[in-house]
Amino acid sequence: MRIEDISKKSDQIIKIRQSDLLPLPYPYNNPEKDTAMRELSSDQRERYEASLDGVIGVGIQRPSSKAEEELFIHKFLSGLAKLFEKENNWTFLHPLYHSLEYCVKCQICNDSCPAYIASGRKEIYRPTYRPEVLRRIVDKYIKKKNRASLKLTGSDIELNWTLIARLGELAYRCTLCRKCTQACPLGIDNGLISHEIRKVFSQEMGIAPKELHEQGTVQQLKVGSSTGINPRALENIIEFMENDIEEKIGRKIKIPVDKKGAEILLLHNAGEFMSWPENTEAFAIIFDAAGIDWTLSSETVGYDAVNYGVWYDDIQLARVATRQAEIARNLGVKKINVGECGHAHKAMIVVADRVLTGDLNIPRESALPILRDIVVGDKIKLDSSRNNFPITLHDPCNMVRLMGIVEPQREILKKICPQFLEMEPHGVDNYCCGGGSGFAIMQSMNFPDWRSAVSGRIKLKQILEVFQDTISPDVKKYVCAPCSNCKGQIRDLLNYYNVWDECGIFYGGLAELIVNAMIDLEKPFIEWEWH
């Protein structure tokens, strides 16, 4: 297929066939053990744009009139023009411009893309396909290059509703993992191009996956958290955690909330409170045992580290980050530490640097080095034999590839997990879990199937490969993923392929493993029945 085919009307550009997908190791080398993606209903196809790959992530509704169709095209083009204006895109103009201008199409990046490889190399998922579509639109409609010469050089494209809608969906088939960027000899950031397309859709056309916008940043700013946790519910959940801690470790710990002047404001992804409270409990136990001066916040937005804006909307990103920094300033803490949440690391520690100025520019760090100092510095007594089961480590793209936080988690695991095994590739060369950039929380229609069958498939392959020697379900194994989003995706992957029953593979965070190794615990902290 050719680049320009994206604007030609057809039922579906590609079809994802089970037989095309990346082969998996034992026991999934048996096709009967594989799982097929759900097809969309005819009603869903009618209402939403689904002609890209038969998958709906964004849910772009068809126009009901010619005028609506024209307005859609107009808004896209005017929004696109803004991406190239300094006053409208001072955050990302430079890398966007660089990435559109200098790609030499060597395709060296192709093998980095989890979706492209796992799909059986479907052209539309090639990491250079989407950027090339955008490049051609920009050349013709923004830079207004000579049309005859565009035709002569074979770089023409016809802009219409179908193309724009498909491009909007296609911006959500890239997990923004930026492994392709790392592979590029020129530093072309194809992930950023997906991000910029998402921005035009959200900021200029009012279109974004509802899980990221309406139920995500909007709900977070209004209610307090994208999970819907309001301050009253938080109070109830903290009480639950305190009781749970007492039951598990035999002593009561008071979780500090709104402690003025504390050294650290700890920001957890609020999904942890809802789905993995053992992670937030583990932090409380470790910090208490190590004598760390820390606090949580009970202010709306202050108890949820997430900032989905980093995936699709600069304005929402700034609103959330500013609110979080204000809360830290008002508490008078020395610094903010982000817990096991990858995108919050990127949003709060890296990207927010462009918006937090003056007294809002509070030191912002990862919590991983604190855990490392506690474990490696022998601040608490640990016994590695308590973690004597095969463990592998997933590297969250935002912490590891983007920020270079590679070693703290490894130093911890090497010290407390005698059967620690590295996946291949790992560290900054890791593959995304397949749930990056919001995919792990996009739960509607058949999108969850796509992220398990396609974008997450290479991660499953890596996990199965590293555990091949002990693949029997009789041996319990643990995938450590120090990121809520990755953890949710890995949970869904393991369920989709029934991996617990087939192979005995469980998943969880990092802090839990530390507590599990604490010598004064009577019973194990890790509870395997939560698979």
Binding site: D43, Q44, G59, E211, Q215, G216, Q219, V223, S225, S226, T227, G228, I229, N230, R232, A233, N236, I237, F240, D244, N269, A270, G271, E272, F273, M274, S275, P277, E278, D304, V306, C341, A440, I441, Q443, S444, M445, S484, N485, G488, E529, W530
Partner: protein
């Protein structure tokens, strides 16, 4: 949003079948939802879970953490999956008339 008939009344549901008008929920609605979730007929434990979810939601405007649900009802996760094959979030919460869980959960 689509409309559908549950428990004899017309209710708005989202793409994945979660009701959008929680105030219209009643036992008959729950039973019809349980049919869609392969959780029919509903026995004592089904109701124990649904009622706990419902009460928590009315009090806190959110579903409880799964660990809390298990602890407070005394029904373990494996049994919840047997009762509601869709699981606690997508199955039991749907039958209880709660909105679809959101955020990184």
């Amino acid at each position: 949003m689509a409309k559908t008939t549950l428990g004899g009344i017309e209710i708005e549901v989202d793409e994945d079948g979660f009701i959008q008008e929680p105030e219209k929920w009643n036992k008959e609605v729950a039973e019809d939802l349980s049919k869609l979730e392969q959780a029919f007929p509903m026995g004592e434990d089904h109701w124990k879970i649904v009622n706990y979810l419902r009460d928590y939601y009315l009090k806190y405007e959110i579903a409880p953490p799964i660990r809390m649900l298990v602890k407070q009802t005394g029904i373990d996760l494996k049994t919840i999956y047997q009762l509601f094959p869709g699981g606690p979030a997508k199955g039991a919460c749907k039958v209880a008339g709660l909105p679809k869980p959101t955020g990184c959960v």
